[in-house]
Amino acid sequence: MQMRAEHKESAAKGSATATRDIYIPSERVAVSGGGTPHVVAKDFSIYYGDFEAVKKVNAEILSKYVTAIIGPSGCGKSTFLRAINRMNDLIPSCHTSGILRFDGEDIYGKLTDEVLLRKKIGMVFQKPNPFPKSIFDNIAYGPRLHGMNDRKQLEEIVEKSLRKAALWDEVSDRLERNALGLSGGQQQRLCVARTLAVEPEILLLDEPTSALDPKATAKIEDLIQELRGSYTIMIVTHNMQQASRVSDYTMFFYEGVLVEYAQTAQLFTNPKDRMTEDYITGRFS
């Protein structure tokens, strides 16, 4: 399993605010205040009943950067992503071992409030899943849940979130319309906006473009670039080009094992593992 020398190196420097002295894909700039370990996995395994779907993962996800997770179907990448905000709790047979920490807090600790955790770690799903409510109510759902009822403030949050998700210009005149009337791409951006409205620290994207056409996909990718630097983003994708376009770091999973985890440019141009190379060159999928 590949560990990242540069991360250990920068962790040794210990500064959370300084721009980190790390390799960034050529066209990208390092984000300020980023690079501290936001999610840390230590010997972290996930089981469905007896089946070990994710095997002893050790990794640190760096704050404010975009981390992509790639790998063939059934390799455990989505399972790993969904473990971070405990969406796997919905599956009764699912349990974990090892340690998964978020900001130093044990995600699977006995005292952890998963509701609070999910507020801080937002998620966007494979299929756009707006509620059958108005656009406004969709975005306001989270803030209302967390006790905000002032109409004025809600309006501000809705506008801010929609602007962040690059959807405001398209829907500002029809906020009271049902969200299910939007196109697939718009719905997905609405879901991003809805997640942003509760002001999470981490954004988990589970194959957010797999149900969208290329044009809508491009918009979501642009959006990820916009959000980079403000949120820690993790994206599971089947599309290797997408991973190389949007991410700073890439994890490659194979049969539940984290085979390689490196800077995206390095992983795609100079993979250290034979398996990774075979996968990104399309020898298997």
Binding site: N85, M87, L90, P92, V115, L116, L117, R118, K119, K120, G122, M123, F125, K127, N129, P130, F131, P132, Y141, G142, L145, H146, R177, N178, A179, L180, G181, C191, R194, T195, V198
Partner: protein, 448 residues
């Protein structure tokens, strides 16, 4: 299989399917046509002056002046008939005993039929029962009575191998040569003058109390009772059912206990309704003592138990059909389980839940057996909303049965029975229709 055979099979299946649908439609038509035709007859019919008089005297409706003039005209013609009766009575007094006894029993029949047609005859004491205080209110019934006066029904026993056959002999022949003889021709000619028939629309049928056990008047107490019972049942069963469905779908862990609960629910759905009726009597009235004896409350509780499984099933199906993604989205935003159910899952499941609820409401309105021992009485007045805890009520389903089987004058008031059937069928159909519309409206709103 070759193409030809496949096509023949396809086509013959289509034909069989269409055929069965047509048979169903015809059966429905055969059931509904008499119900609608006769039921409508309870409201639209040719009414006599007696009907108008009852409406005026008992319900305070109608135009006093018209009724007075019409009554005066009718009385003038009736007076002539009454005179013939008294003339004949005087004649009979003068006859030797053997002669008069020949007429006596036949004359008693004529007199009784006259009294039934026109109301109490002059000189008779006012009868105790309302039903004998008035003549025939409906024209077709008046014609029937006339026939009864004009002809004597006799039975032909000549052939012992077959059932006796009825035949009619004109009474005019029996009374030929007496002072009563002209009466028959007179009645035949002047029936309309004596009864003053008029096309009547009696909307009061739905809103009037009944007089003397449905002989006259409307069916409001039954309609109201039906609504009280059905809505009462809903008040108990709907919240309970939805809560149970939420428990089954969202909280229950699959296991022995849950599967026992589920099969208990299915079994409950299959229990015959008369068993629920007896259970209601034994449990709610005798054991729990929710009321002294029959009451709307006890009936509603019994009906609630009966429809509960249906509501649970419908709600469960509706909740399960809500896309899992809604739940994920809500939980992913940091919503609690309870909040997710209340703000996302239940609203999305609402069309299905409401449909199940309203269909159950229709069933509760139509059931007879559960309320026989717990809530229904055959004759009664409409009860106030405060009385539901202690008073029984008439209800459509039970009174239809009662009029069909137990009422002592059932054959005289078939139109009331049909009117009740039509009302009940209409109420249930309207409820189901509203369920469909409501469902469509909410689904539309959800779809955007």
């Amino acid at each position: 299989m070759n193409l030809g055979t496949r096509k023949i099979l396809d086509n013959s299946f289509t034909a069989v399917g269409m055929g069965s649908i047509v048979v169903m439609a015809l059966a429905l038509l055969a059931v509904l046509t008499p119900i609608v035709y006769n039921g409508v007859g309870a409201v639209f019919f040719t009414g006599t002056i007696e009907h108008r008089t009852i409406l005026y005297k008992e319900y305070g409706r109608g135009d006093a002046k018209t009724i007075e003039t019409q009554t005066a005209t009718a009385e003038r013609y009736r007076g002539e008939a009454y005179r013939m009766l008294s003339d004949f009575e005087a004649e009979m007094e003068g006859m030797p005993f053997e002669a008069s006894s020949r007429y006596r029993s036949q004359y008693a029949q004529v007199r009784a039929a006259m009294s039934s047609l026109l109301g109490p005859l002059p000189g008779d004491p006012t009868p105790m029962l309302t039903r004998f205080q008035y003549g025939q209110t409906r024209w077709e019934k008046a014609e029937e009575k006339l026939h009864e006066i004009l002809y004597e029904k006799k039975w032909d026993y000549s052939d012992p191998t077959v059932m006796a056959k009825a035949f009619y002999v004109p009474r005019a022949e029996a009374f030929a040569g007496t002072m009563l003889a002209p009466l028959f021709g007179y009645l035949d000619r002047h029936l309309a003058d004596m009864m003053q028939p008029e096309f009547t629309v009696y909307w009061g049928f739905f809103t009037d109390r009944s007089l003397d056990a449905h002989i006259f008047g409307g069916i409001w107490p039954e309609i109201q009772g039906t609504f009280f019972l059905a809505i009462g049942a809903m008040l108990f069963a709907f919240p309970l059912g939805v809560i149970a469905a939420v428990y089954f779908t969202e909280y229950a862990k699959e296991g022995f206990f849950t599967s026992i609960l589920r099969s208990a629910n299915s079994t409950l759905a299959g229990v015959p309704s008369i068993v629920f009726g007896l259970f209601g009597l034994a449990f709610f009235i005798n054991t729990m003592k929710v009321s002294e004896s029959k009451s709307v409350l006890a009936g509603s509780l019994t009906l609630a138990i009966m429809i509960l499984p249906t509501i649970i099933r419908a709600a469960e199906e509706a909740i399960l059909s809500v896309p899992k993604t809604y739940k994920e989205a809500s939980l992913g935003l940091g919503s609690t389980k309870w909040n997710t159910i209340a703000t996302v899952i239940l609203p999305a499941a609402l069309p299905g839940i409401i449909t199940g609820g309203i269909i159950s409401l229709g069933r509760a309105a139509g059931e007879t057996a559960p309320i026989i021992f717990t809530a229904a009485v055959s004759v009664g007045s409409a009860i106030g909303i405060a009385d539901v805890f202690s008073s029984p009520t008439p209800a459509l389903s039970w009174n239809i049965y009662n009029l069909a089987s137990e009422h002592e004058m059932a054959c005289e008031i078939r139109h009331v029975q049909y009117g009740m059937v039509l009302s009940l069928v209409s109420i249930v159909l309207l409820l189901n229709l509203s369920a469909i519309l409501l469902r469509a409206k909410i689904s539309q709103k959800l779809k955007g």
